[in-house]
Subunit: 482 residues, 2 copies
Amino acid sequence: MSKEKQFVTEITPQGEDFSRWYIDVIKKAELMDYSPVRGCIVFRPEGFALWENIQSDLDRRFKETGHRNAYFPLFIPESFFQKEKEHVEGFNPELPWVTEAGGEKLEERLAIRPTSETIIGHMYSKWIQSYRDLPVLINQWANVVRWEKRTLPFLRTSEFLWQEGHTAHETEEEARQETMQMLNTYKEFAEEVLAIPVIVGQKTPSERFAGAVDTYSIEAMMKDGRAVQAGTSHYLGDKFAIAFDIKYLDRNNTLQYCHTTSWGVSTRLIGALIMVHGDDRGLALPPKIAPTQVVMIPIGPPKTREQVVGRVDELFAQLKKAGVRVKVDDRSDVSPGWKFNEYEMRGVPIRLELGPRDMENGQAVLVSRISGEKRIIQQDQLLEEVQRMLDEIHADMYNRALQFRSEHFYSVETLDEMKTLLEEKRGFSLAGWCGSDACEKQVKEETGATSRNIPFDPAEKKTKCLCCGEEAQHTVVFARAY
Amino acid sequence: MSKEKQFVTEITPQGEDFSRWYIDVIKKAELMDYSPVRGCIVFRPEGFALWENIQSDLDRRFKETGHRNAYFPLFIPESFFQKEKEHVEGFNPELPWVTEAGGEKLEERLAIRPTSETIIGHMYSKWIQSYRDLPVLINQWANVVRWEKRTLPFLRTSEFLWQEGHTAHETEEEARQETMQMLNTYKEFAEEVLAIPVIVGQKTPSERFAGAVDTYSIEAMMKDGRAVQAGTSHYLGDKFAIAFDIKYLDRNNTLQYCHTTSWGVSTRLIGALIMVHGDDRGLALPPKIAPTQVVMIPIGPPKTREQVVGRVDELFAQLKKAGVRVKVDDRSDVSPGWKFNEYEMRGVPIRLELGPRDMENGQAVLVSRISGEKRIIQQDQLLEEVQRMLDEIHADMYNRALQFRSEHFYSVETLDEMKTLLEEKRGFSLAGWCGSDACEKQVKEETGATSRNIPFDPAEKKTKCLCCGEEAQHTVVFARAY
């Protein structure tokens, strides 16, 4: 325990220093550790388990929509990047280069993939010949590297883990449908699994993926009012098809370029769910991805201990059999109170307490990590009660996040108004935008807030640009972002 | 179909050219494709699905034995390799180096991990302080790179996918138990899931993992008589603990070095199962990892088609609901006969045929990919019959592989005997060895065969060294290997 104990020492309160709170929590909960490689973290088992649960749920959704997984090389020849102008401009500054291998200097430098449109495009051009070969619906789970100047665990690391979907289609319409389908898959996943409400919309041209025709995103609000882009889906038009010669013979036997898409989410989702749900007691994990959903803690005097622990083990077996991710902590060298703090800090959704009196009454106590509500339940209804409470906790977490977001979502008319708001309060601003890069740039320079996206269904339609006062072309969500 | 059709063109017979057979099969079955990066392949969906099934079964076995997954950085600082002398000597020649990143030259070169003992050892030294922190039982699923001169899809590629387990323990005894437990896990997996019989034993010193005290392996025989090392488990002693300062306070409050292990299997298992089970008709996939276990093909004249297809879809739903990986091919633009060849080439274990007469009789026909046996079954017993046949096919595949191995396993007394055997026949040789590097080296030079391992239970104990004729210290399996 020597090491464990130190983890229940103080966590910096969110109100005092949110960034320090974040680092304190992820270190104390043993989600990650810094590595000796600049900007790269180690995903410790407690942190990686979150990613495994995210992966398995998303992977099921991808396969249900007809996608299959594949794996493409980590290395991308330098010449490949030159083929799509905007793409190379966007990614070149962030690329690590392999220049030597096997004791020899390489004739052509190899980039470590920052994303795989180029090498996958090259392969698709070999695999696709006829409309009969379409659509191609492939996803890849992989590590990617973007050499970042400023890094933050999970949210921005030089190496990170992600999935990247890459699809090729006959028509623009079909490709756009795919782009929207996957964007919606991300939205549903964020809400149904991570309990994170998201704003769904289109990126402004300046925030587009390098090489995309249109980029769409889901944006989430952290508890410090900043935004995290939680997932993106891109319609690439025929730009990569032209760059990599992805052609097919259509139904009239004429050669056409494919329309392609790409879409991805990454391990930054772990950072997002921590910053959305965590509190001054530590982590608060959404039940659907919590590595441990229920922790069972026997209580009471030593003389009753054996009997209580025996019953706890029986109940443990019941829950485990039913697929609940449950754990027993029957250590006798730490107090129940210490354990309560420990598992609250680690964000376990439900704590089950069982003591001598509960034994007599055939009862047990369930405690919610979120509301702190204590519920006395009958042991013979344990499974139903646990499942009900897990569902309630998920809904509770989602509603609290939604509540927080609406309380920190402002409708602004002018740049000054937005500045004042951002100085006094945390949050997102909804504002009109004339569509000019100049105005968008000025907002960024004067407030540090960037356009997050143009929401599909804004609370209201803005009519004037917050910057130049001209007629608004779009209603945009602006926020400082991670 | 245009592209599909070309896949049922001739496959080079194994007897004519085994290597060409292998490449023909994996290309035609769309398991892989060559990439523009030297020595790196693309795992196409049909090939990657095999890895996904291997992964999910092994991952369950690892977790059942108390291991958890984590993820460590892709990059390893050059200085880390210098810390374990044998390790650096073993891997240096194969390392790719990142020398530039983000537009700047790096102060210290970063290697792409060929294996992660060094960086994981570094982290363990931070995490482990007391015996209470032990054992540490972590596994990582990752891509690794070893710059290979000669490559062969799946069996030897510059980048490959694998799992690497890394554990730390209080005592040598406990660490050696872990080493053996994981070796045995690999043996059971190879036999129970891949239907591959393996020879379990210890590597000779010259074949040890760079930096290990003892290396153990499972070795499988391919249909050309060559060996594939299908998995290794290493007892690392305290060598990496000393190199990376992994110390703990023991129960008597004195500082001790940990005893560590590592163990791994890789995507070469895909190559092995193809070379063990495939035949001149193409792939033959073990039912437990076949992406498609049953392919359902409606047959009969067009006028009966709709009715037959309707019934096929009902049966499909039954099997799918029961968790059978099943697929329907009701395309009307290719003949049943063409489909039969296609799915035999792709190695689908069971073909289900349903025609008008079967409809009348409430029957269906199951055909085994391995034996070709046709079994007429009652539709109302479909699930039981399919599950029984899948089990029989697994046993059949295992027994055929075992039979082939015993027919190509020779007991030899002298080097000349072994030479003659290897010239006339394919296979493994069991021979005595005095234990000297010189003799082992001579065997390799004169026969091209290497010592695979010292089997735990050899068919017989050899008394004389095949090379020098001195007393044998060990009975060794020799073979040419991939």
